[in-house]
């Protein structure tokens, strides 16, 4: 697929390399630090606590390749993402992991965890019962206690204590990363964003794979470059992308080659990952619990109120969004359950939507026809 723009590849090369060579990075990190690496399955994982223990937490993601290894383990009516993640483990692509953990989220992804735990030899595994009712005042005390239990488990595994200073330092590194990401994302509000949606996704994905301190240094350097950067093509139609887990860079690239730029998202591989900081206040674990309970929720935890709808509308307004691509991983029930309400709200706010259902691989050609038609419709709106 030919791109209509010629972007300088250099600006985002570090982040792109981290993503493309994540296994190599992880092995080198272990060699350099002597630390352990834990793979996590959902962004509700309290990474700060693992980082405080000297662990490198990395997100387990799929590879978008057709595979035939998960059929005996996960019934095909569950989402392709969870099967793709498990496939990576079964194929030995995460053989550098010392442990795995999951913070309870949807039923789909937890199957990748439970099958991984059973069939792939691993030194450490942990299931954290992250509360679902994050709108209840009872959730933070419960999660705080669960974090204490998780901390004890990590200490037992590693044979060392995690002290307050360790936690403070980890929180500082993670908060710094979030602040830097906000600064980059803030630039996307402008009339001519200096980065594409694909590049923004590279930033978030790489941040889930590498040591945040290194990521922070690279982000600081990036911000300096972005201050002077202009995309070598018009912004075109300003789009938002939202829905299930999405790390399909090929799709994002294709859309942006059609005269559009993604200026914002609501994904766990996007803003939902870094939107909220840990506000340190007294009890450290309680502060971390507070952050994860109050973060922008995954729809599986967004009830009884659908708070995400208001958040998405705010983003759409703040980033001057003209249209939204609502995508979902096939069979992703939590998102499917929100999509009618979300679409209705966006349409009522004047943001037109295009719904697309994703699998491990996507039919780029067919999607391109639909995306072009969608963009044409939005551009006609500009004329009249």
């Amino acid at each position: 697929m030919a791109s209509q723009t010629v972007l300088d590849q250099e600006t985002f090369q570090t982040f792109r390399n981290w993503r493309l060579q994540r296994a190599q990075y992880a092995r080198q990190w272990k060699e350099r630090t002597g630390g352990k690496i834990v793979g996590y399955f959902c962004t509700y994982a309290p990474e700060e606590l693992m980082y405080a223990a000297g662990i490198l937490p990395v997100r387990i993601l799929g590879s978008h390749e057709v595979q035939d290894v998960t059929e005996p383990h996960i019934f095909a009516m569950f989402c392709p993402f969870c099967r793709d993640c498990l496939a990576q483990g079964l194929k030995g692509r995460f053989d550098y992991l010392d442990g795995i953990m999951i913070a309870q989220s949807c039923l789909h992804i937890r199957q990748a965890y439970t099958s991984w735990e059973k069939h792939i030899p691993i030194d450490y595994s942990y299931y954290l019962p992250m509360p679902h009712k994050v709108q209840s005042s009872r959730a933070i005390p419960f999660l705080t206690k669960e974090l204490e239990v998780f901390q004890e488990s990590l200490e037992k595994w590693l044979g060392k204590r995690i002290n307050d200073r360790n936690i403070d330092e980890a929180v500082e590194v993670y908060n710094r990363n979030r602040e830097l990401m906000w600064k980059v994302f803030e630039l996307r509000k402008g009339d001519s964003p200096p980065l594409t949606g694909e590049e923004a996704m590279e930033l978030v994905l790489s941040s889930q794979m590498v040591d945040k301190q290194e990521h922070n240094a690279a982000l600081e350097a990036l911000l300096t470059r972005l201050a002077k950067r202009e995309l070598p093509r018009p912004t075109g139609t300003r789009l938002m992308v939202l829905g299930s887990e999405n790390d399909d860079l090929e799709f994002i690239r294709m859309v942006e080659s059609c005269g559009a730029t993604f200026v914002i998202d609501d994904h766990c591989t996007g803003t939902r990952y870094f939107w909220n900081n840990v506000e340190v206040d007294g009890n450290r674990l309680s502060s971390i619990a507070d952050r994860y309970v109050k973060r922008v929720p995954c729809p599986s935890k967004d009830w009884p109120e659908r708070t995400r709808v208001a958040h998405v509308l705010e983003l759409a307004q703040a980033y001057n969004v003209q249209g939204a691509i609502v995508m979902q991983q096939k069979f992703c029930d939590p998102h499917e359950l929100d999509i009618p309400a979300l679409t209705k709200a966006l349409n009522a706010a004047g943001v037109k939507t295009l719904f697309l259902e994703f699998d491990v691989t996507v039919p780029i050609g067919q999607f391109k026809v639909r995306v072009e038609a969608f963009l044409e419709m939005l551009q006609e709106d500009d004329l009249f």
Partner: protein, 435 residues
Amino acid sequence: MTNKTKYKTAPLKCWAKAKELRLKYYDDYAKAHERGGLRWAGGAWTFSAIPSGLGEDVWSLTSEPYAASIAANKPFSMRCLEAAEKASYARDLCSYMRNYWGSVILNEYVFGGPFPKPDFIWQDHICCSHAKWYQVVSDLEGGIPQFCIDVAVGPYQAVAPHKIDYLVGQMHDGIEWLEKTTGRKYDDELLIEGVKNEFRSTSTWAEICAYNKNVPAPLDEKSMYSLYVLATLNKHDRSTADFYDELRDEVKERVENGIAAIPNERCRLMSDTQPPWGFLSIFRYMEKFGALSVGSLYTFGLIGIWEDKPDGSWGPRTTPMQQGVEIRDRDQALRLYTDWTLSKPEWQHFYSPHIKTEMMARIAKEWHLDGILLHYNRGCEGLSVGIAENRLGLIEAGYPVMAFEGNMGDEREFDEARVRDRFDAFMETLGVKKD
């Protein structure tokens, strides 16, 4: 499995009463407002004893059994499913939800008349769809107050005080919410009575299921569906607890007198997850081979509460009343209620399929099974979660397994002829022939 013994068999004496109780339940709900009472809706697993503290004129509609009733009525079900799809709800979502929503959208109650709108929603949440189900109901009905308790605190084997506190805290909040929402004063005595009834009904149901360890089994699973359903409707109600006492006595008597569910029992099986409700005739087809499903973790543990007995067997959990515990106040009732419910067998696999495999292998051993039927149920992500791992684990444990795909509530996803063919082949591998 060439046993040609013919067992005595007889219809259940309390069958008609079970049917009557079920229909009365749906009728009571529909007529609640005529009687000046309240209507609430929520899942079959919800803590139903809690709203009972609002008064004796409060009736519920539990969502899954109601949707299963729709599914059994195929023409109406199809209209419901299509109505939900037309309203932009995806076809691969839980088929119970889609049937239920369709009934709301069409404004038709499957038992006749318009859909009786609930006054409030009282739900629990362990499956991703539980609370979200009622968000949509509230959307469709123009706003209904909703309270939902998160119960996903991990498996019972790791229960801890802070987990109990999390649930009990939500329950206390829920009671305050009920008072505010309905304007009624809450009666703790009614709560305590409801909780005690529920302990009794859910333990007694487990006791009834345990009698099916007997060869020949006194009950077949198809009939058990019409019996366990009462506890999915009204587990906290005295009528259910009393009925199960009566049923338990009758089942015990059947065992003592060698009365079998089917006369030709020679191949004992269990199923898994909800059956395709519009196709229960497959159970009768199985009986042509002398194959009897004696139950399942689903039928035993969806509602039944179990424990390890001193002899190492699995049996009904001893109720707090049997232990001599006197329930004096709200907090104590809620704590006991929480601990009791968290031990529900059908909640354990939400955290690990391997726990479920262990329970299933245990059933296979203690109930003397020859094989296992796994319904890969496209209609329910909650009970199908981990089912492929259950298959692997049960095969590893040495049990023949037949897997088949279907859907509990969407007839478009169940191929009856193909499942029968597969069952024929399964019987052949077990060396069982038709009579």
